[in-house]
Structure formats: C-alpha cells, structure tokens
Symmetry: C2
Subunit: 392 residues, 2 copies
Amino acid sequence: MIGSLQGLKVLDLSRVLAGPYCTMLMADLGAEVIKVEQPGIGDDSRAFAPFVGKESAYFMSLNRGKKSICLDLKKEKDKEVLWELIKKCDIIVENFRPGTMEKLGFGYEDIKPINPSIIYAAISGFGHTGPYSQLPAYDMIVQAMGGVMSITGEQGRPPVRVGTSIGDITAALFGTIGILAALNVRNQTGQGQKIDVSMLDSQVAILENAIVRYQTSGQAPKPLGTKHPSIAPFQAFPTKDYYVIVAVGNDSLWEKFCKILDIEYLLIDPRFKTNNDRIGHVDELEKIIKQITITKTTDEWLEIIRAAGIPVAAINTIDKVVKDPQVLARNMLVELVHPVAGKMIVPGNPIKLSLNPPVIETPAPLLGENTASVLQEFLGWDEKKAADFVSN
Amino acid sequence: MIGSLQGLKVLDLSRVLAGPYCTMLMADLGAEVIKVEQPGIGDDSRAFAPFVGKESAYFMSLNRGKKSICLDLKKEKDKEVLWELIKKCDIIVENFRPGTMEKLGFGYEDIKPINPSIIYAAISGFGHTGPYSQLPAYDMIVQAMGGVMSITGEQGRPPVRVGTSIGDITAALFGTIGILAALNVRNQTGQGQKIDVSMLDSQVAILENAIVRYQTSGQAPKPLGTKHPSIAPFQAFPTKDYYVIVAVGNDSLWEKFCKILDIEYLLIDPRFKTNNDRIGHVDELEKIIKQITITKTTDEWLEIIRAAGIPVAAINTIDKVVKDPQVLARNMLVELVHPVAGKMIVPGNPIKLSLNPPVIETPAPLLGENTASVLQEFLGWDEKKAADFVSN
C-alpha cells in the first residue's frame, strides 16, 4: 500500500471546484479517480481562464492524478456503461444541483439497491433538503449568505469577498471527511451511505467566534480590517514600504514588543497594561505604534520582531509565496509535465502522512484520455470493443 | 454503530483552535474524545472572551461533546497516567509548537514503540520540518504569509484578514482528513502513523486559481473587492439600503439579467456581448448596473433576480445567518444546555451522513469534569483510587 486510499475506486461526476477538489485530494492519497465527462465539452472548467495554449490551467490545477472517461448521459448505451462502472466503484462524488442525478436515474436511492456498499457524496450549494435546496449557488453567493463576507473587510467600505473560493473548498474538505468517515463504517460493516454536504452549511460551520460573539452581545460582529476582535496589538501596521503583521498574543509578548519598539513607558500606562486595557484603547494604541513602524521597512521589522520571538509576518503576494523557503521545503509546489501544456506548477497536498504520504505525479487528463483503458480495466472489455465504443 | 467514528478513542492534547476544531469534528462523528488539560488552567481558550458568567463561550463552542481530564505533565505520576491512556487510545491530536511533545517525552517516536497502531496527528503553524518550523504562528500570520491576505480586500486600501480563522480551521480539516485516511490504512494493516499538517501549507493548498493566474501571467493577483477575476457581472452592487450580490455566471444568465434590469440594449453592445468582452469593460459595466440597482432595496432585488433564476444573495450579517430558514432547516445551529452557563447555541456539523449522522448533544466539559470517570473507565481504577488521584 503506497497511498492511504490505495485500491479505492472513485467515480467522479463532478465539475468545476467543490467536487473536483474533493476527488483531487483522494487522488493525491492514492485512490483511482475516474472522472466522467461529457463528450466534446467535458468539465465546464476546461473552458475557464487562464489558459496555457488551449489547455485551461485552472482545470489542470484541480484535476491532476485523475483519469478521464467520456460518457454522454443522454444516450442509453452510455448510461449502461455508467451502471457497469457504478457496480465496480467504491465511492461516487457529484456536485450537481439536487435532483439532477435523480432525473438522470442515478440518484442514491437508484444506486443503493445495485451497489449497497457504495459511498455516495453529494456536494451542493444549499444541500439536498430545506427551502433553498433548488436555488443556484456560486462560491460568492454562499460567502455572502453564510456570514463570512459581513465580517471581512473594513467597516464603512464596500463589501469584499475572501480572495479564494472558501465556499467551495471548505465544502470539498467537509465532503472528504464525510466520505472517509463513511469508509470507516464500510470497512467494518460493508455498508455504504449517502453524504449530503452543502456550501452554505460549510460556511456556517467555519464562522468560529462570530456566532458566540453575536450570542453573548446581541450585536452582529463587524468587519475589523486586520484587527483581532479581542487581542491587541494584533493587526497590520504600516511600514516604510508596505505593512507588517504583528500578533502580540499575550502580556509577556507585549512586554517584549514594547522593549524592541522603545515604548516601554506604555507598560505602566493604565490604558495599555493588560490585553483588556489595550482592546479598550485599540485606536490610540494603533496611532502610537504606527508612528514607529512607519520608520523602517517591512524586512527590517521582520528581522527585529522575529528575533524577539514575537509572531510577525509580511503580507506575501503570490509571487513571494511560490518562492517562500518554507513552502518549498514542505513540497507545497509540485511540478508536473502535461502532455500538451508542458510544465505546470500545482499546489502540493498539505496532508503529510509518515507511512503513506500523498503522491502527486500525474498531470490532469485530456478529455476522454482514458475512456478505452478504463473500459478494459474496469469492465473487462477487449481492446476492440473499447476502441469501438470510443469511436462511436 | 451510531456515529461513524463510534468506538474510537481520541486523546486530545490540543488547545485553542486548530486541534480542538479537529477533535470537535471527530466527537460529532461519534469518537470518544478525552481532552487533557493542565490542572487549574486548562485550554488557554477557557480564558478567551466572550464569556457567559465565568465560562468562555469561545471555549464552549469548540469543545462540545468532549471529556476533560486534568493532568500536570510536569509531574511524573501524571505522566505515567498519560502513558497508560496512550496505550488505550487510537488517535492522538496535538497542536504544540514542533518539539514540545518531544521535550515532554511524548513525541511520535517515543509513542510508536509503545502503541504502534496509534494515529498521531500534529497540527502546527509551519510543520515539523523546514526552516520556519520553530517560528511562532497565529492564524493571521499564516493568512499573511500564505497569500490569501494579498488577494482579499480592495486595491489601494489597507490589508484585511479573512474574518474567520481559516488558517486554523483549514488546517483542522486537512488534519482530520489525514487522520481518517490513516484510519483506512490501520483498518487494513493495524499500523498507525504520524500526520504532520501545517497551517501555512493549508493556506497554500486553498489558493485555488491564484497560483495558476500568477504562473500564466507572471503577475501576482491583486485583491478585487467582490469582483471575480474572470467572470462579469459577478460582484456586489449597491442598492437603496445596502448591497446585493449577483453572479451572472454565463451568457444565458446575462441575457436574463439584462431583461429584468431593462438594459437589453447591452446585449448587442460589443463591449458586453460575451463574458470576455464584459471582463474587458468591467468598470463601465459596473457603472451602468449600479445606476439601476441603487433604485430598489436589496429585498426587492432578491425577489426579482431570484425569480429569473439568476444566483443572487444578500450579504447576511450574523444575526441574519442564525435566523436563516435554510440554515435552520439543515440543523446548522444546535442548542446545548451547559451545566453552568445554561443554554448555548453552537454551529452544527455540515457532514450529513445518511446512516450515521453527526450527533451534537453534550456541552463542553468543565475543567477536569471527567478525570475520575475516565481513569476508572480507561485504566480500570476503582472509585477510591480515581478520587484520590483527583484530590491530590
């Protein structure tokens, strides 16, 4: 066993982001992922910018390590092939709007009698139950409805979205956890089950302290820029060339911080003695610190503040992130060679397992690249039968 | 089997957020989680605002369903008890700075010979390898270093953090996936392993299209407010009373959108014909649409745009989120009764499994609430021996 999910066969009917992210993680962990795509078109995201030649870099970054098989689910013959594949697979992942798979005849209730041990994961905008179940969703829709947008950004300024699609990605992560939890059951009882994960639910689940702050104060939390709701100083301060992030998480760090900034007189100022005092006078505190941080560059401050053992950071733009020594040392950027697009860097997998580490070696498949070989391998078809299917 | 992780025993040495979030998910899924806390103090977050009476609502929201046992790991006697517990447990979770567990004598290499089947999850700021391994981290530090902060917010404005601690929470989710993937191995071979998940790695893993955009253009992506980098119109527009989020994801939705806004003349305007045209003239497009959206309230627009089948949303503040009919229908807010604090609402679990759904019934433990009962249950001590241990 090389990958931790080695031997598991995943039938992936998903497209764009939440579903493909979930199956990408499973492929990294050693599962064999068969991506079912519409002939001629494929996953919608094959048409998403940016491109390398005619290949979508967006698609390639989310579908490494998978196999692509083309099936036209409007044709009976292709539906029959899908049924045969379903019988041979351990896990199905789909992220259609609820009801779509049922209309196609592949809802969980249709599949369960045929393959009762299958684990069926449905990831959708709002879930398979409830009044919004049928509404269309995108990442930004659930970021807005789920509350995170209301606490991100600056007060009094227009709203901002989280710059990465956490609506999709957190749903993918919760979905993957659900699949593996169901796998634990199946490993013991042989029984499969359905997992119904929604992007909106996932947003609510990551609200963290916002829900308890509302509950205890009766006030809806507001966006705070980079400030922490209950720790200070814990924010971005301007420097000579940009900003530096400082996280003075407790009173002992506060003492060190005052020393290196040469503002030790603040330690006996009743406005700033304890964290609670500082939170109560956070704007005055910011003014004092700002006047000092602005006198040096970010790099200078990084060195000084880091040497004092205080958590500190620059705000890395993506060009810096991809060159960061820690990111590189942790193998968080992997080069793959795509048969058409050539060299591609994809993000690594953060799940570092000591015995069965994730393996990222194979680039994303071309549309239908593996149709024939999957039919031979999974359904025992001979070469000619598979080739005939592909050419028809 | 009720929960999907029923029967698994988790020894939880973690505190504050990433570790406790991971073990909270496992507790929801039916694992028995024993939280080891320092006598008299406990998890640091027991001292975090907001409070209900003297109980931290922050702590209570992250530690439902767990048991608390007090052990002083500076005392030999207590260390021996921890060793006994380690022998009986299936999973350990810790989120100390790398090296701390090793100094205490409980590193994975110490534990492995004693309990080779144990799954040991270490969640840390930067991971157990690499040049930054020993640096201190908080959520905001990795949000800044990992790139998400550089693409969130408005261009030319000060930086903003994502309003929820996605640095901690995504690490918790990747950590949980790692544990369950390792469990799949263990269910087959009996062998345990170590999982080393870092918050910084997790940030890189969720950057999504930002990495490919940088790779293909050579330009570091910039924050875009609520705008989408490659789809338009796909952003927040001002209304009479606040904003409305509209996600016009394709040309057919664009046609519908123009109809309901009575701007069908734009459909033949070469600046706005295709999505690529619209992206090229996104500021002009925004100006035209803004003049119309500002004439009605958000609620009015929600009704009109939703009726046309176009993805649309209000930006819900937390007070709205906790009353949202879909959120309530999906059981995403659960009321627990804490023995001291009384009624508490905690976020539900988004992993809806059909056979073994998550169960959230027990509030967070008081400090050391279960020391005696855990010692009796796990180590077979009699009542007197356990009571003596607690009172010494």
